[in-house]
Symmetry: C2
Subunit: 319 residues, 2 copies
């Protein structure tokens, strides 16, 4: 067994999670720092490096760290930069040389960086549901819809480092919902946690159908999930619609790279019991006959609290 | 300069074209045999091997052939088989071990096989418009719409050898046209030569708009092209519609693999003057801002009569 270790850092808009991980995917030590209290990247990096050094010390792995893997919004694998990440308080309109800054602050330790969904894909391949798979598509169902595409055992970065934006393919061509990206009809506007809440608000307004959701002041996807578990018919229909939208998009993804499986992760993936049946049937109804009933839909097996760190850390094994 | 040569064979439903090719992409000798006069594959392979031997002799390349590349409908790169190719008289419902049979008939020369669109992609990368590109998507606009996807300089075959069926993604989600594959709304039903003719027939029936196309008994895409060149308004609108359908599908393809370019080839690509403007604007209107006006649409530079042979032959360089 390899006696080296890696560090994984998941950079989120509010907090950054970091941990020391062994080759089996055990998180030996972890901690969290704020991301959003910094308007400049330098002091953030200084605190991050301090936190990394602390968990290395806590886990007794000094001198045994092979490298650091970072998952961050708009992270570019080729350049190690974070570009125009509007959700990061120090991201803004600029290009942040994240890998370079962090590596310097860590005395030259190598740093690999990519976006969060790509990191999740590497995590699943290394420690999770995609172990042994060479061709799969990771879909993260969170606030938005992200994706990481693996072909022949390697993440697809494309010619510029930004490949795999499947949350922004056209799920609905005409009169689609407005997306944050400026387009309309993007998959993300229907099939994310936000999208599910939007569907609920839209349908409540358009119909008189009774639902426990009517009594709520604000609706989040979690409320729709709870209502569905209690048998609320409208909530169940919302998940059926969401699953269908996802499944028919998966059919198009399969035509592209013919993956062995679609792997799902993220908050919304907890609604597996309601999403899976409509997703599978829409996928199989819309895919070419040669792939019908042949492509698996699997759900992440990683412990949710560790998954972001594990995904990022897995990148570092490739350094 | 490499002093070895390769053979390229393009297996079509009616005829099979074959040629001996040098490393610069010059076709030194070529010939054509019938495909559709055989109901069994063995006598077809026997005639094919004879024809290959003849062009090798004609070109004076005996003993210098590195291998044979074959482009064929439903060709599987991994297994060297042709599976359920309904358009081939000896294809039918079976799995034909094409590479094995041909290699045996050619005294053990190595044979590489893939589908025609993948072969075209390798051809463009080796000799054509995609030289030097590591990430591009080849779209063939012929009777159908085929595709070959190149990522990091390699064709994407997927987990089963059948990746890259972009003619069968959903161009139209509701009330889409019926496709030969059994689905509806496939890109191929709108953006192939057949699709253009279908659009013409549909629009002529639905409107009273004057058009020279009304005087024809049967309409092929070539007629629509000729009419557009003569300024026929309906014909021009048909190409605008076709280009738009293609361009917005390209936007989704870009979100997948972030290619440097989309490369177009095939009979319908001759209508470049009419297709390119609506294609480019629909692509840029529907793509994420980060790729807007950044992905090129380029047209094949290969001589059309040689292209099928060149594409297939290029596979053999990798043997």
């Amino acid at each position: 067994m390899d006696s080296t270790f890696v560090v994984g850092i998941d950079v989120g808009g509010q907090t950054s999670k970091l941990g020391v991980v062994d080759a089996r995917g055990t998180v030996l030590a972890q901690t969290v720092i704020r991301t959003d209290t910094y308007s400049d990247v330098e002091p953030y990096i200084a605190e991050l490096a301090e936190a990394v050094n602390k968990i290395i010390k806590d886990s007794g792995t000094e001198g045994k760290i092979r490298g650091i893997g970072v998952g961050a919004p708009n992270g570019n694998y080729y350049t190690g930069t974070i570009e125009n990440a509007v959700n990061l308080s120090w991201g803004g309109d600029s290009v942040v040389e994240f890998s370079k800054l962090l590596s310097e602050a860590m005395g030259g330790l190598p740093v690999a960086l990519t976006n969060d969904a790509n990191a999740a894909a590497v995590g699943e391949m290394t420690y999770g549901a995609a172990r042994g798979m060479k061709n799969f598509i990771m879909i993260t169902l969170g606030t938005g819809v992200g994706s990481g595409i693996v072909i022949n055992g390697e993440v697809v970065y494309g010619h510029d480092g930004f490949a795999g934006e499947l949350g922004h393919v056209a799920a609905v061509r005409n009169n689609g919902r407005t997306c944050n990206c400026g387009k309309t009809g993007c998959l993300e506007t229907y099939a994310s946690a936000t999208g599910v809440a939007r569907t609920a608000r839209e349908w409540l307004e358009l119909s008189d159908e009774p639902s426990v959701l009517r009594s709520l002041d604000t609706i989040a996807s979690k409320d729709v999930y709870e209502a569905a578990k209690d048998g609320d018919k409208l909530a169940l229909k919302i998940f059926e619609f969401t699953g269908k939208i996802l499944g028919r998009s998966f059919a198009d993804f399969i035509a592209f790279s013919s993956p062995e499986a679609i792997v799902l992760f993220g908050g919304l993936a907890r609604a597996k019991e309601f999403l899976l049946p409509p997703m599978e049937s829409a996928m199989n109804d819309n895919v070419l006959p040669l792939w019908r009933n042949k492509v698996k839909i699997v759900f992440s097996q990683l412990k949710e609290s560790d998954a972001a760190i594990l995904g990022a850390s897995a990148l570092a094994w490739e350094l």
